[in-house]
């Protein structure tokens, strides 16, 4: 893009350059840059001056070349990636809100499950021991029967809790899933312990009879 060489540079030419009249946006009346009487006078000069006309034509060529870049489009899927980021952030915020609550819940569930399992196990072994001793005949069977009933009841209840937890877990955000899984497996473990106790109690009862 060659600069115009024609014509002598006058004071008005310099004013035209300075006020941006030779480089106005093509076809624009409100440039915001040049207004009023001075602008009118300068425009009048530009219309008559060969050098300024050439300068303006050159600038129009520059602007036309710049405007070619208006064909550039934003990459495909930009908005979708932003939405994904917003969704991930919402999930993270939800998980953040759950975080202080979850370890407490896990602790409580674990404690109650462990306490129940331990109590049942101790009762079962005590029942088996008492049932086996010849001088306490009759008392052992009662303990075994009691343990059997308690374990069966707790096992059923725990299993129901496990199913409820599983449904709840599906609705939790991804970041909360590890906490939930810990809770779920603790409940499954307790249920398995209860089932083993039932089998043990059954075995003790049948071997005694």
């Amino acid at each position: 893009m060659r600069s115009p060489r024609a014509g002598r540079v006058t004071w008005w030419c310099r004013i035209a350059d300075r006020t941006g009249v030779t480089s106005e946006r093509p076809g624009l009346s409100d440039s915001g840059e040049t207004a009023g009487l001075l602008a009118w006078l300068v425009r009048r000069h530009v219309e008559r001056c060969e050098r300024c006309r050439a300068e303006r034509a050159r600038w129009e060529g520059v602007v036309a070349a710049l405007k070619e870049s208006r064909r550039i489009k934003a990459p495909y899927g930009t908005l979708e990636r932003v939405f994904a980021r917003i969704a991930a952030e919402r999930e993270a915020e939800a998980a953040q809100a759950l975080r202080p609550m979850l370890p407490g819940a896990v602790q409580r569930e674990g404690l109650s499950g462990g306490w129940l399992a331990g109590l049942s196990l101790a009762s079962s072994w005590a029942g088996a021991f008492l049932g086996a001793s010849p001088w306490l005949l009759g008392f052992g069977e009662r303990v075994v029967a009691l343990t059997h009933a308690a374990a069966a009841m707790w096992s059923k209840r725990l299993w129901e809790e496990v199913l409820v937890l599983q449904h709840l877990g599906e609705a939790l955000p991804a970041a909360a899933q590890p906490y939930f899984q810990a809770l779920w497996w603790s409940a499954v473990g307790c249920s398995a312990a209860m089932a083993l106790l039932v089998i043990a109690a059954e075995y003790c009862g049948s071997s005694k009879s």
Binding site: M1, R25, V63, E68, S69, R70, I72, P75, T78, V82
Partner: protein
């Protein structure tokens, strides 16, 4: 169909991201072009645009409607892109990258091969010259001449007084013409 921008804005402020999508979709190309002009790299510009849109989503409840939505979005793109530029110390806008980006645009839409071939050389020179200007100058030129914003809105985007924008534009024009003369001189020396 007339776009209910006020309605979309209200819904977007309430957290409806679909409304936000409809609101920003017509501005995406302009915002990307501005980011590309500032950071000078397609990948960086894409990241800057995503950051800007995300920031816009977060800042939307604070948008009071004192300026056009597009102007407000431009301002966020400007801030994010300049921050990225400071961190990355990116090179000036590469004319080849802009060609590649334009080719993508051509694939996606209208394309006139004859006009493209005729103007390719000029465009390349102008892009090269523009890429060598300071970031504030090339942003002012981009917003004013390419995107067609009035001086007042350019001032809102750059967060400077109107007089400063006029000075930027004047100096940018001089610098661009000087660069073009230099490129022309180099060409003549080679030729």
């Amino acid at each position: 169909m007339v776009r209910d921008e006020a309605g979309l804005l209200r819904r977007a402020k309430e957290g409806d991201h679909q409304a936000f999508g409809q609101l920003v979709e017509p501005c995406l190309d302009q915002a990307y072009r501005l980011a590309l002009r500032i950071v000078g790299d397609c990948g960086e510009a894409e990241d800057a645009l995503q950051d800007a849109l995300y920031n816009a989503w977060r800042a939307l409840p604070r948008f009071r409607g004192e300026s056009r939505f597009l102007t407000w979005l431009y301002r966020i793109v400007w801030r994010v892109s300049v921050d990225r530029l400071r961190k990355a110390k990116a090179l000036p806008v590469d004319a080849d990258l802009l060609d590649a980006a334009q080719a993508q645009g051509d694939d996606a839409g209208w394309y006139d091969p004859e006009r493209s071939l005729e103007g390719a050389e000029t465009r390349r020179e102008v892009e090269q010259a523009l890429g060598r200007l300071p970031v504030a100058y090339r942003t002012a030129l981009t917003l004013y001449y390419i995107e067609g914003l009035p001086v007042r809105e350019v001032a809102q985007v750059l967060e400077v007084p109107v007089g400063t924008v006029k000075t930027h534009l004047h100096r940018a024009r001089l610098a661009l013409k000087k660069e073009l003369d230099r490129i022309d001189g180099e060409k003549r020396e080679k030729g």
